[in-house]
Symmetry: C2
Subunit: 208 residues, 2 copies
């Protein structure tokens, strides 16, 4: 693969988005970043990984700080001593990490508003993976050992948190096709099939 | 292609969705239906093609009738003499045509809520095609000869009508990725590239 590509993958919980991203990165021979982004953000900001893990992909509960974060995102410097909620500190630290990873070369990045953070980068192909509820339930119970009786509520809660998080930092609607280059229902194709379709997309894009 | 597939394509105006559907049908050697659905609906219902053309893919302006249409859609018979708005008469006639076309075998159907009408048909792969505004504007001006100074307003008006139409009859949000098996931004790949990705999707689906 000669042309640089940053593939960002956002995903419904249980849709297999992470697994798809992992397989895709392996097939394309490029790095894969998921939780690693949070680890790097902790390391670079000197914050605790455990604290960051707790608020990963979660919006700050207060709207008060969004103006400040917004100012940061639009290029103004925020003094690092400013007492932002931990969620916003994580977002700011992840922003630095994601921009720096994208600068290094082709890669796959899962979640964490990477597509929004890299919205001006023309090498980005942003992808959204979703699936019908029964497919996601089956996967969540089997792969993530969610207790069957609690799985649906848990899954909906996680997706609501992800949607809020995406909307809070990007101002955009999570899962609205207009925001993504490619959206796939993984339920029809499974992991391997979805990877094949994404590879076809990247291949076509590389010929342009 | 051995496995039956009904490919429904909904699309933003100027995104090339129709052209993509046409090329796809040709490549797969299956029939393509766009305006033809409306022509057949006129023929079968004994209504005027010209009258139907005027309200094609447009929702009735009154909400009053949606209950009646809803009753029809959920399986209750509506007497043909009932004085429904012409939009609803067209929708009902198109519903019959689309169901009958889907029964005949593999095909590509553009717009007209075909994915919603065939929502219980497991052979359906429903697709949404969109593109950024500059791409759609260029296409609308070049291919559909929209006057450049009026193109953006005209394009937004048509898409608003399509979104209303889809929501009115399906109750779902037009362009929300969760409702489609595959959504593609055609701006990055063009017509040929988008067709190649859809073919990859169908190929993967045929192996399941």
């Amino acid at each position: 693969m000669s042309k640089k590509v940053i593939i960002t993958i956002d995903r419904q919980y249980g849709s297999g988005g992470r697994a798809i991203g992992e397989k895709l990165a392996k097939d394309l021979g490029i790095p894969f970043y998921n939780k690693e982004v949070t680890e790097m953000a902790a390391k670079q900001s000197g914050m605790s990984k455990e604290v960051f893990d707790k608020v990963d992909e979660t919006a700050a509960s207060s709207l008060l700080y969004s103006v400040v974060t917004g100012a940061y995102m639009f290029g103004n410097h925020v003094p690092p001593t400013l007492d932002l909620p931990i969620n916003d500190k994580l977002f700011i630290a992840q922003t630095e990490v994601i921009k720096s990873l994208a600068n290094e070369g082709s890669c796959v990045i899962v979640g964490r508003c990477a597509d929004y953070i890299l919205r001006d980068d023309e090498s980005v192909v942003n992808i959204f993976i979703h699936a019908d509820l029964p497919v996601r339930l089956e996967r969540a119970i089997k792969e993530y050992q969610l207790p069957p009786e609690k799985a649906e509520a848990q899954l909906n809660k996680i997706d609501k948190t992800r949607a809020n998080y995406y909307h809070y930092y990007s101002g955009e609607k999570w899962g609205n096709s207009f925001n993504y280059k490619l959206c796939i229902d993984s339920g029809m194709l499974g992991i391997e099939g979805s990877v094949a379709v994404i590879k076809a997309f990247i291949e076509q894009r590389n010929t342009k």
